[in-house]
Amino acid sequence: MESQTRILIRMRDVGFALTAAAEFDQLLSRIRLQKLVYLLDVLVYLVELLPPSERHLTYKHGPFDAAIQNAVDCLAFRGLVRISELYREPNGQIHSNYGLTKAGARWVERLTGDQEFRIRARVAESIAREINSIGWDQLIPLVYAEPTFVTARTLGYGTRLNPHDPLRNSAALVLKTMTHGLRVGFENTVANPELLFRLFFRYLKEFSRLRDQTSSMIRSGAGGAV
């Protein structure tokens, strides 16, 4: 894909992610922005939209797509995104928080005039709602529990993530299994996207909790060698 197209598509996603976070009075840091857009790409599967064709790779802090950072930087330069709390951390890493300016919020409103963009924006909103109920500090652990990333993270940096491949261990496979389970096991339940969102986040939360439990067991020496 042409890099201009990539960046523009990611500008849209950044706009939706920042709007969704702002609904809950949240600014997003660089890492959290990456994670929220990753979850957005994962969960558009439920509404039968596709994620951008150039996808996330495994990197230092989980799934990473360089186009997202470039997009937010462009939007900031153009006056649609506001940067706050910009500083260099002791380890050399740059920290910054992002939120939309008024002009940025107007631009997102224009975008949501398009029907499919509106659906995408709603998915971002639902994700933000779920995260808000679990806690924003849990955003990164939740992404670390996403099945595609769980499988790929042991393979080192630069591994391409495809959470929509239902023939492998992926978010799509989990979502399909949940849909099937609801259809077969609960006659009066409709497997609508909202219900599946909730179940999926519950799954991520539980997975994350169990993994933490195992890690602390290993750290305390009860679990044997890693």
Binding site: M1, I9, E48, S53, G79, W107, R110, L155, T159
Partner: protein, 636 residues
């Protein structure tokens, strides 16, 4: 969509606890281009090469090596090391699949992976099962390999040329398998290979039945003669029972039915997979178009918003205000205006994607249809795969039952002469059953042969361009070596079960169909040329360099050809590949010439000098000054 295979590139290795062969633990990092393991006779060159290949693959078991005599595993090292140290000895190999580096560790008490890590800075996975899983997963997901066996096969038969000179150049089976694996986007290598194995099994079964049928006929003749000669019942001798156990016929019928079902289910899986691949290509292409138009829409909203809020880029366009320093610059404005007219970024002039809303609606509706169809196909494939797996398990179970019953009592027991207990009617029934089985198998074999032939032809046609490209690559290498034009010809190898085409060298207007039509050196170096061409071909697809490991290439080489061989290796190294050679310590040997392409200061790092770490014999010690002088010359 099927991912193409990325061949591994060797990055380094460590051998721990290899005493007494070596005086110390060994470690080497490999650079792109030539790397040499330099040593005299018995100093451990082959052990190191085998250890590296063992570390990567776990040895060459029956799935890798057809020739029983050439199979090997961890036992190869056992007689060479101190028994007490075996448990502590290990081999670690660093390798890269594309840009991602991995390290695999194996011990010498077995062939399993005992440690694995992705990236040098990562933690080791030391739980055996998890390490093996992670290794397989890395090969599948990063390297595109279907199984670890496929990986091992490619390392053994393509990337590693051992001292036993196991050639690929005239080996049809290995060539077909490798070429199909490297072109797995166009081939169904696993299916093809499994079906060939099945064809062999069916043929072997048919021959057994044929032998049994012959015996049944003989017995029947004997019985009839016996009846004619000895009409008096009292004089009849006993004969061992030859009737099969009562349930075998039912079991065989069940097995046949199960095999047919599995076969049909496998066909369904293949068809679903092919359809899914085709559809995925369409989805991807449509998706890209949709995104281009969406990007255009996003960009136009951006411009509108910038205008409405009078943001920096709008001010540049309207008033020529530089968005970086705030001064008015009319030249900059003119450039911005020109870029705006050409639908490009105002500042850098990169093209902004263009499309109309109407086009977007059509494209989205097409994409939506395709995505729905894709999801249905994914479901179909998942169900078909689950069914196939269950059917295969059932088939295996039935096969085991049949085998166990057959082992308890063969189809026909050898009868003691003149002791008939079985009646003529029983024998006739048995003969009929065997004839029917033979005819069934013949029909199945015929059907499978045709299917495999068709599949192979389809594959060859689909990769016609790649075959031609392989030919070009080969011609360059082989001609550098021979000093006269040498091309790659394709000839058919006639086989009783399945005739397949293979690649052979052609020079002096003659395709060399048998290895005997070439000298020993020609055979060996034309094989190297063929392997390098295949590695280049794979590298052209994946964009990633690989490694070729060759033991003592100078053996059997006439000195007049040394420069040609060096040229061949130089050409290979220029592709960014890593070359790992072992060589004897010799004045003016091939190692020095191959290393001459490496800057002098780096050469020492590219050579593992076994004079320093190997156990020297009395002969070596006596010749030590000369050997050291030769090493110095090799290092330039």
């Amino acid at each position: 969509m099927t991912q193409l295979i990325t061949l591994p590139r060797l990055v380094g290795f460590r051998l721990t606890g290899f005493q007494p062969i070596f005086r110390q633990d060994i470690s080497m990092s490999l650079g792109n281009g030539p790397n040499v393991i330099l040593g005299g006779n018995g100093l451990g060159k082959t052990t190191i090469m085998q250890a590296i290949v063992f570390g990567l693959t776990g040895g060459a078991e029956d799935a890798i090596e057809e020739e029983k005599g050439l199979r090997w595993n961890h036992s190869y090292f056992r007689g060479r090391l101190n028994a007490t140290q075996l448990g502590a000895a290990s081999i670690e190999v660093d390798f890269a699949l594309g840009k991602t580096e991995f390290t695999v560790r194996r011990g010498l008490n077995g062939s399993d992976v005992i440690g694995f890590r992705a990236g040098r800075s990562k933690r080791w996975i030391e739980d055996k099962e998890r390490a093996q899983d992670a290794f397989s997963q890395a090969l599948q997901e990063v390297g595109g390999y279907q199984t670890t066996r496929d990986f091992a096969f490619l390392v053994h038969r393509l990337l590693y040329l051992p001292e036993t000179r196991r050639l690929l150049a005239w080996d049809t089976n290995a060539q077909v398998r490798i070429f199909m694996m490297l072109n797995q986007d166009a081939s169904r290598e696993t299916w093809f290979n499994n079906q060939r194995a099945r064809l062999k099994q069916m043929d072997s079964r048919k021959r057994h039945i044929h032998v049994a049928l012959g015996k049944a006929r003989d017995h029947l003749t004997t019985l009839m003669e016996f009846e004619e000669q000895v009409p008096d019942e009292e004089e009849t001798h006993t004969m061992t029972a030859i009737a099969p156990p009562p349930d075998i016929t039912t079991l065989v019928a069940e097995l046949r039915r199960a095999a047919n079902e599995s076969f049909e289910a496998a066909e369904l899986v293949q068809t679903a997979r092919r359809n899914l691949n085709d559809l995925s290509i369409e989805v991807e292409s449509l998706h890209e178009k949709v995104e281009t138009v969406e990007a255009s829409l996003i960009s136009s909203f951006l411009s509108e918003q910038e205008k409405e809020s009078s943001l920096a880029l709008y001010k540049l366009l309207e008033n020529g205000v530089c968005p970086a320093c705030g001064t008015v610059n009319l030249e900059l404005r003119a450039t911005a205006e020109k870029n705006a007219r050409e639908h490009s970024c105002l500042l850098c002039g990169s093209k902004i994607p263009q499309g109309t809303n109407q086009e977007l609606a059509t494209l989205r509706s097409q994409l939506s249809e395709k995505v729905k169809a894709q999801r249905v196909l994914e479901d179909t494939l998942a169900i078909a795969e689950a069914r196939l797996s269950a059917l295969r398990a059932n088939e295996d179970e039935l096969q085991q039952k049949v085998t166990s019953v057959r082992l308890q009592q063969p189809v026909l027991a050898v009868t003691e002469p003149n002791l008939p207990e079985t009646t003529k009617a029983q024998l006739l029934a048995q003969q009929d059953e065997l004839q029917k089985q033979e005819a069934d198998l013949e029909a199945q074999i015929y059907r499978l042969q045709n299917q495999l032939r068709r599949e192979f032809e389809r594959f060859r046609t689909q990769v016609a361009d790649r075959r031609a490209h392989l030919g070009e690559l080969y011609t360059q290498y082989a001609t550098s070596f021979l000093g006269l034009k040498c091309e790659l010809a394709e000839t058919e190898e006639h086989d009783r079960l399945l005739s397949l085409s293979r690649f052979v060298p052609k020079f002096n207007d003659s395709a060399r169909e048998d290895p005997e039509t070439c000298s020993e050196a020609q055979r060996f170096f034309l094989d190297i040329a063929f392997r390098m061409a295949l590695i280049d071909l794979s590298s052209d697809f994946s964009g990633q360099p690989s490694t070729f490991i060759c033991e003592t290439p100078e053996t059997a080489l006439d000195m007049s050809y040394v420069d040609n061989v060096v040229e061949m290796f130089r050409r290979f190294s220029e592709g960014g590949h890593t070359l790992l050679l072992s060589a004897n310590i010799q004045l003016n040997g091939i190692a020095g010439k191959v290393l001459s392409s490496v800057p002098k200061r780096e050469r020492k790092n590219r050579v593992l000098n076994l004079l320093e770490i190997g156990q020297l014999s009395q002969v070596h010690n006596a010749a030590l000054p000369k050997l050291r002088a030769a090493v110095r010359q090799t290092l330039g």
